[in-house]
Symmetry: C2
């Protein structure tokens, strides 16, 4: 591995840069971000060695860490252009549209559809952390469609970065992520909005908010620029998850309205097993 | 201060016991919990020096850390019985019903309505932590109704425990807490329920859940025994907060359904100021 090119130098792209630098100090990292300020910051922070809009001919791996709506066209264009020994890996949070878009591409074998389950509520190059990816799950979709000899490069990278690989088909990925990630973000954003709208001009209200509120609303600090495209690309599954969630909330609301607190208790109690499940790790 | 009596030896009562022990090593702590196992654990863990269902005549302060539905009757009964120099402080998450219930009590001056904004998703004596209350906000309602000479005792305790005092009327307290605490718990419980119902028999799904999901669903581990009474006591305000929340979720759902992602973006973006507000601390 000699040269890695990263497009999108925010939280995820930047964290890959830092982790790669640590694992492969000799690798040359070039990169690009269409946000000028982010590009400057990425250089200043030492995330990349060189600014370059396109990967050069000797690039081993191109990592794509842009908002998901950009990925299908960008991936296609890059596949058209890159050398036969270059592998393109995307790191987006939705997979079905992208995989479908590339399915008939003659160079599909040079592409790997990935998704690191890692992040924070912050964004941009300054949010990048060297250990963000350490021991995190990395989901790979349609692994069988990537050329065997290029998979070697990918595995070398993933192993050095301490990623735990999981394999899944794109539809399954998008459905599951809608429930365990995209819905959490919606819930957090709208919770923040509810409190802000109600508590207008009453900033001291947040004084009364304990760690519980901070925890449930943390994701509301996430970037709308990243998250709007995710909700768009995964519309069907997101609507399914959101519909289920609203239904649960309305059931609880109805029980409270009817003063049926035995039912309220049962509804809360049923969530009990999540304690063991969430402590599994 | 010589003797403090604590009724309810779970997360909050137990944490007060530990903090008091540290701040006032010479104070005798007696206590009670109607859950036999919790009472035994509280002794074993050294939270209390003595088991006693009722405070003895020399008790300076009685702390009530039971579920909120028990508090009105329990407080009244204790007020009827205690000596003139004993102050009763409740630590419940709802205040209006309780304060109303005690408003005409001839010994109302010996009562102080308080609420520490502190907690974790765990419960019972084993969840108690010596530093849980350190530097946390402690809300006091109707402070003017507590006798001046007993307030001295209360201030001595609060100061030693490093609590930051805030004053508020009971209705205001309950309304605000519905939005910044009770709604967060509902959101978390129902989010956990949504994912568990959908992902039945697919435990590996939680493998794919990142720190974001863990954060939003953390409060779903809270005790239904504590939380059902809170939702009941604060029914009106909880329904208001929950109604607002469901409305925001439905607005977002509609925008997604209509493919109006400019509106989705705007709705997410509007939550932006919460970043500064939540980082204020």
């Amino acid at each position: 591995m000699k040269h890695i090119h990263i497009i999108g130098l925010g939280l995820i792209g930047g964290s890959f840069a830092l982790a790669i630098r640590k694992a492969f100090p000799e690798v040359h990292i070039s990169g690009f971000d269409k946000n000028d300020q982010h590009l400057e910051e990425a250089q200043y922070l030492g995330l990349i060695d060189e600014v370059s809009e396109k990967p050069s001919a000797d690039t081993d791996i191109v990592l794509l860490a842009t908002p998901v709506d950009v990925l299908p066209e960008l991936s296609k264009k890059l596949l058209d252009e890159v050398n036969a020994e270059t592998l393109i890996i995307d790191l987006g949070s939705t997979k079905a549209t992208l995989c479908k878009h590339l399915s008939d591409h003659p160079k599909r074998g040079q592409f790997l559809a990935g998704h690191p389950i890692a992040g924070t509520e912050y964004s941009g190059p300054r949010a990048a952390k060297e250990d963000l990816l350490n021991r995190k799950v990395f989901i790979i979709c349609e692994m069988e469609k990537t050329d065997v000899h290029l998979k070697g490069k990918a595995y070398e990278l993933f192993e050095a970065l301490n990623l735990k690989l999981r394999f899944m088909d794109p539809e399954e990925h998008d459905l599951h992520l809608a429930f365990v990630s995209h819905l959490s973000h919606i819930s957090s954003f709208m919770l923040g909005k509810t409190v802000m709208d109600k508590m207008e001009d009453e900033r001291h209200i947040f004084d009364m908010a304990g760690s519980g509120f901070a925890s449930t609303v943390r994701l509301a600090k996430s970037s709308p620029e990243m998250w709007t495209p995710i909700l768009k690309e995964n519309k069907t599954h997101v609507l399914e998850a959101l519909g289920c969630y609203i239904e649960k909330l309305k059931n609880l609301e109805n029980s409270i309205k009817r003063d049926d607190f035995e039912s309220v208790y049962r509804q809360l109690k049923e969530v009990g097993p999540i304690r063991e499940i969430m402590d599994m790790d």
